[in-house]
Amino acid sequence: MSEAEKSGQVLVDLAGVRKEYGQAVALDGVTLQIRAGEAAAVMGPSGCGKSTLLNMIAGLDRPTAGTVTVAGHDLGRLGESALALFRRRHIGMIFQFFNLIDDLPALDNVALAAQLTGTPARTARARALDLLGELGVAGRKDAYPATLSGGQRQRVGVARALMNRPALLLADEPTGALDSRSGEQVMDLLIDLNQIGQTLLIVTHDLELATRCAGRLIEFADGQVVGQGAAGAGR
């Protein structure tokens, strides 16, 4: 991360990315670049392909056509296992509906991301506890997701996404399932993260979130980028 960030290099590079689901065209030739250290927000009506775009960048799905390059990796050339390793090392994901592992307590949900890479349990848990502390939910470390509030769950989700110090943090409607107060807290968190150099790509419906968090607004419609511009906040 640091290398790319220092030089403000292109971290994400999409060239003519197209994604079809049967007849439906979710992405219709998207070309887009995101530089290290940037905070970008993708906005657009429901069903226009925003989540699909994030999935492409995270290597969770493959484009029908076009290339996706993230941190120098051409994702089209990576196999499933290599993609998993790529995600571990470079990507942190935050979901609208948290997607925590129901069967694991908060601490282990966070630590898991590091343990998968072979980090010893002790080290992983120590760092996870630090992160939970920074996010203000250390007190709920032993709680199962089902017993946490939405805001708490999302903070655990953010902690998990940050666990492996990802080059790129992807957030799909991170505040979408939260009340306005919790949403604001999560928003502040993301802004702070970006301030210390975290590259951020947020998908949101929320114009306020977009303008406050992001330095750049990407407007999406019918699977295409229809406009880009600088936003007020961010760097």
Binding site: T52, N55, A58, L60, S81, L85, R87, I91, D102, P105
Partner: protein, 769 residues
């Protein structure tokens, strides 16, 4: 209703695998149930049907002709309580030596004089040929009508001391077993019978006391001691149900077991389907479905495949039943009873299985009905902290690869779901352990009854039968048989009828010398004889004479006597026979010689070649051998095999289905894990570890449970006492195979959804949820 139907249809379409599995499980279970109930029904009703059809005799009475005159006997037909009577028929017992190949025409035969097969009682069925019309003609009773056809039996000539030669003109079957053979009344009169037979049907004939009372009332007007003996239909019925060979009880156990397991697995699979649909139920409720409609949706979802499965299963069961029943009843003296079962059997199964399925679905469906929509939506997704948490924490910190420790921890997070999976594994594996064990025991039992391959019996020719007598004497024959190539062991034997002091019944004792007979392996109490004055006998021989192992008896033969002690009891066998050593016979008959030699050949030696060598060496020796290793063994194993196969299929489907469901529920989680960097391999390792752990734990419970159940059953069921060798059937390799089978089935059930989840792109999995 149309909303319910449409929703159920959509749900079925989305859960094709689950629907298919429910159908398959119900199919296998219904087939098993049809077979099991059919077997139980067939064990009793065919006898009744055939017996009633022949107007079978409740009592076959034989009277002393010197004490009761025919007119007085004929009048007994009018006594109160007598429904119908036939007779009097003259009756003699004649001892027929073996002169033909007809086993029914050998030994002491009871012959009755009857003008025809019909009459008010005991309407004998003539199967081949015709009834006797003239003196010199005889009709034989076939205890089993469906044996091989023996047209060559007609025309055979039977000779016995004191009788004119008799020509077999017919083969018939009497369910009452009133006689072993029949001649015309004129022929009978010429034989000067000293006994007279009467056949009775009574108004009250269901129990022993009723029959005794009826007979007492009947012999009231007759001179004391006129009634010589009376055989009741109860004994015949018993003999039929007991199935002479003792494996029907075991087959029955198989049937009951299969039924039970089928029910358990169906219940498990169906309630699993409902439980795993809880979230769906919550959504339906949120949509405004009434609780009743929700129940209806779920009942429809499981009842449709269940009904189809039951229909196909009943058809399959009915198709399988013919061969299975024929095999099960082979060797039973069924008379003309047609082995089969009533139409109610498939009917009950056809109606019962879907009802059972609906009932199994109803319990969890009703629970879901009470659940609030919110609770249902989050049902199963809220593990409670507690012991599970501690285990999870410990595992999370353990020095294991994380996918492995995750997999081990999963079962603890959801005790309910784990219990469901474990229950399926335990029920399935216990029953498979039990049935395979029973199968091995029954195979061993059936095999013990048959001459093993590589055994040649050598009979000494008898001049009385028109055969050459051997040139060599007894001892030289034995030496000859031992000297021919390929011989491993030779046992010389002779059957002698011996009186036992103080006993009315004689015993046919087989005296043996030479190598120990393989029968010695079937001693279940005491030991095989190893010196003079020692007797080994089957349980029936002992119980009918009030004897037990350790008792002393005196043998009487030709005016000589020999003291003997019962030293061993065999597993099973005929009540007439017992075994003793040659020295015991020498004491009774110093000049006795063997008439049969049992030769066991070394492995791989062709019995044909050996037999040829024997004939060449002395044309007075008649070797015989069977090339097939026991058809009974094959058929019993076949019957057990059918049940075992069905049970294994049902158990495997049950486990597969449960694991499939629980893993499928985890698909979203698998997607999440992949999104944070779990490789497909790690996903597979985790899933497999999780179910393999449950499979192994299930095996730890199920295998000992199955072994215990097997032991309980072989110790307590049936009239056979199995020797330990037939009870200790679980070889280490067998157990390992069983445990592996449990784990493998569980893993297979998990792999399909795990692989599809691992193969699917994460986006698709997460999108689908």
């Amino acid at each position: 209703m149309s909303a319910v139907w449409r929703t159920a249809r959509a749900a079925v379409a989305r859960r094709r695998v689950q629907t298919l599995l429910i159908g398959l499980v119900v199919l296998c279970c219904t087939a098993t149930a049809v077979l099991a109930l059919g077997l139980l029904d067939a064990a009793t009703t065919p006898f009744d049907r055939a017996f009633e059809h022949q107007r079978g005799a409740h009592v076959v009475a034989s009277f002393d002709a010197a004490k009761a005159n025919p007119a007085a006997l004929a009048r007994t037909a009018a006594r109160p309580g007598v429904q119908a009577a036939a007779g009097p028929f003259g009756q003699v017992v004649a001892d027929f030596p073996r002169t033909t190949d007809i086993p029914e025409a050998e030994g002491p035969l009871t012959i009755a004089g009857r003008a025809g097969p019909g009459g008010p009682v005991d309407r004998v069925s003539v199967l081949y040929g015709r009834w006797a019309r003239a003196p010199g003609e005889i009709v034989l009773n076939l205890p089993a009508a469906d044996g091989p056809r023996r047209p060559q039996a007609l025309g055979a000539r039977l000779t016995a001391p004191g009788l004119p030669p008799l020509t077999v003109v017919g083969l018939a079957s009497s369910m009452s077993r009133s006689a072993d053979a029949w001649v015309t009344p004129a022929q009978m009169a010429a034989l000067r019978p000293r006994a007279v037979q009467m056949l009775y049907r009574f108004e009250e004939a269901a129990t022993g006391p009723e029959l005794r009372a009826a007979m007492a009332a009947l012999s009231d007007g007759l001179p004391a001691g006129a009634l010589a003996s009376a055989a009741t239909h109860l004994a015949l019925r018993q003999a039929f149900a007991d199935l002479a060979a003792a494996y029907l009880p075991l087959l029955t156990v198989f049937g009951v077991l299969a039924l039970l397991v089928a029910v358990l697995i169906v219940a498990g699979v169906v309630s699993g389907a409902v439980v795993s649909g809880l979230r769906h139920i919550g959504v339906l409720k949120a949509l405004g479905f009434t609780p009743g409609q929700v129940v209806a949706v779920y009942l429809t979802m499981v009842s449709v495949p269940a009904a189809i499965g039951a229909a196909l299963g009943a058809a399959a069961g009915a198709a399988l039943a013919g061969p299975v029943l024929r095999a099960a009843f082979q060797g039973v003296d069924a008379g003309v009873a047609e082995i089969g079962f009533g139409g109610w059997v498939p009917g009950v199964c056809l109606a019962g299985m879907p009802l059972l399925v609906a009932a199994a679905a109803l319990v969890p469906a009703l629970r879901a009905r009470r659940l609030s929509a919110a609770a249902a939506i989050s049902a199963g997704s809220a593990p409670r902290p507690g012991r599970g948490l501690r285990v999870q924490r410990a595992l999370g910190g353990a020095r294991l690869p994380r996918p492995v420790s995750l997999g081990l921890g999963l079962p603890f997070a959801r005790p309910g779901r784990t219990a469901m999976t474990m229950a399926a594994i335990v029920v399935g594996l216990t029953s498979v352990t039990l049935t395979t064990g029973l199968g091995v025991t029954m195979a061993a039992f059936a095999a013990a009854d048959r001459p093993p391959a590589g055994q040649v019996g050598v009979r000494v020719g008898e001049a009385a039968f028109g055969e050459n007598a051997p040139r060599l004497d007894d001892r030289r024959i034995e030496a000859l048989l031992r000297s021919l190539p390929g011989v491993r062991q030779v046992t010389a034997k002779v059957f002698r009828q011996v009186r036992l002091a103080g006993q009315a019944r004689r015993g046919d004792i087989n005296f043996q010398r030479g190598d120990t007979s393989p029968l010695a392996a079937q001693v279940v109490q005491g030991r095989w004889f190893d010196g003079p004055g020692q007797i080994v006998a089957p349980p029936a021989f002992l119980s009918q004479r009030g004897l037990a192992v350790g008792d002393r008896i005196t043998l009487l033969l030709n005016g000589r006597r020999a003291e003997a002690r019962i030293v061993g009891r065999l597993m099973s066998g005929d009540a007439r026979f017992a075994w003793a050593s040659w020295d015991t016979l020498t004491a009774l008959d110093p000049r006795a010689s063997a008439d049969t030699y049992e030769v066991r050949l070394a492995a791989g030696v062709d019995p044909r070649r050996y037999a040829d060598a024997v004939r060449a060496a002395d044309p007075g020796l008649h070797p015989s051998f069977s090339l097939e290793t026991g058809t009974t063994a094959a058929t019993v194993v076949g019957v057990a095999g059918v049940f075992t196969a069905l049970l294994i299929a049902v158990a495997a489907l049950g486990v597969f289905n449960t694991v499939l469901l629980t893993t499928r529920e985890r698909r979203r989680e698998l997607g999440v894990l992949k999104s944070i960097g779990m490789t497909p391999r790690q996903v597979t390792v985790m899933t497999v570890t999780s179910v393999a752990a449950q499979g192994a734990a299930g095996a730890l419970i199920a295998i000992p449970a199955g072994m215990l159940a097997h032991r309980l059953i072989v110790d307590n069921v049936g009239i056979v006492e199995f020797p330990d060798a037939m009870k200790d059937v679980f070889q280490p390799s067998h157990l390992v195979a069983l445990a592996l089978a449990g784990v493998v089935i569980a893993v297979l059930g998990a792999l399909a959804p795990a692989c599809s989840a691992a193969r699917l792109t994460v986006a698709a999995v997460l999108h689908a949820e």
